[in-house]
Symmetry: C2
Subunit: 225 residues, 2 copies
Amino acid sequence: MAVCIGSPYTLGQSQAHLSSGRLGERITWTQADPLKFLESQPESAKYDVAVLAHCIWYFSSPELIIATLRLLSTRVHRICIAEWSLSSSAFNASTHVLAVLTQAALECRRPGVQSNVRTVVSPTSIKAMAAKVGLVVQREYFITPGEGVLDGRWEVMAVMDREFSDRINELVEDGGEKSVVLAMKDAVEASLKQVGGLTEVRSMDVWCAVLTLPKEAFPVLIPND
Amino acid sequence: MAVCIGSPYTLGQSQAHLSSGRLGERITWTQADPLKFLESQPESAKYDVAVLAHCIWYFSSPELIIATLRLLSTRVHRICIAEWSLSSSAFNASTHVLAVLTQAALECRRPGVQSNVRTVVSPTSIKAMAAKVGLVVQREYFITPGEGVLDGRWEVMAVMDREFSDRINELVEDGGEKSVVLAMKDAVEASLKQVGGLTEVRSMDVWCAVLTLPKEAFPVLIPND
């Protein structure tokens, strides 16, 4: 069973909206592992743009992110990335930052993890990975999400869930390491109180970037930030 | 060589101030490991109050904190604790919270560590440890430190130091775990930018508590919060 949540729209709703629009007939939706999909295509298959929209934290390791960027760089002219920035411009979004770091601190000990935060990477780290495969940042900017974007609340709820505490005790054996993850969880709880409860939690800023190989360094038309 | 820093006063300045006061003749300063000191005293030696002032994070393990609380509970009538709360009531103190959690996430992998954050524990966690040895919380409250308390800045500086990044690469072998500590460090850097730089960083709130064994549950006279 798969539960599809999303706010203000789910992924399915967004796809249906796009497919019903005037470009709908030109869109094909493919649900697949990105690296396997690219490898299954002939090397001659080139694409204008690859968009990595809030998906990088789902990758199972930093190495897999680098491998995907490397293969993408040979097949697409431009890679557009939107990912949580680990940066908040408001006090009540800092709870979201703490919550994802806390999840990441626990989940990095779980091989084959299925959570929302499997490999947490900052914009700085993604740029370092991109540089490793020769990609250049053409443009980058930050967006503060609207109040309808509820990811901040969801990630905080995941940490406050009783099951999360159980998993800390189950997965972290070393006393010192367990102490750190517990302290992080308690810091999320304290932050939640300080901002005035779950309904006050906002989502952290989003980092957006356009990457190309140097030979593709043409002017990129995107909105001013 | 020992470098003694502190703001607005160093430990040495505070001790000199107390010793020169009207109670000075009744004060003896002893610099010793708390557990070893207590063990060196006869069991009949009792004390009115033990004050643990911002020292718990220097303990080398959660087990040592519990052992110290256990022995203290048999020798003193009242244990007073002041410790960083991992909670900030202002946006520009959340950088301090992130910085100490980041240090803790790295330092828990270093046996014999000499940093300021050796065993990070929240008020919730300290209360759980106290309960394990039968201690009861008589009273607890939070204090927001004045601007002259610079610990927030110092801990952020420690994370931003080049040496800190070198130690991440040296100490954390697993790629996933390294990714988490690097992300935390980058989150500190992003928070530092958001609050407007180092001079704007404030120190997180301090948690104060009075603990006794149940038989000592007499009214405690401390200022109202």
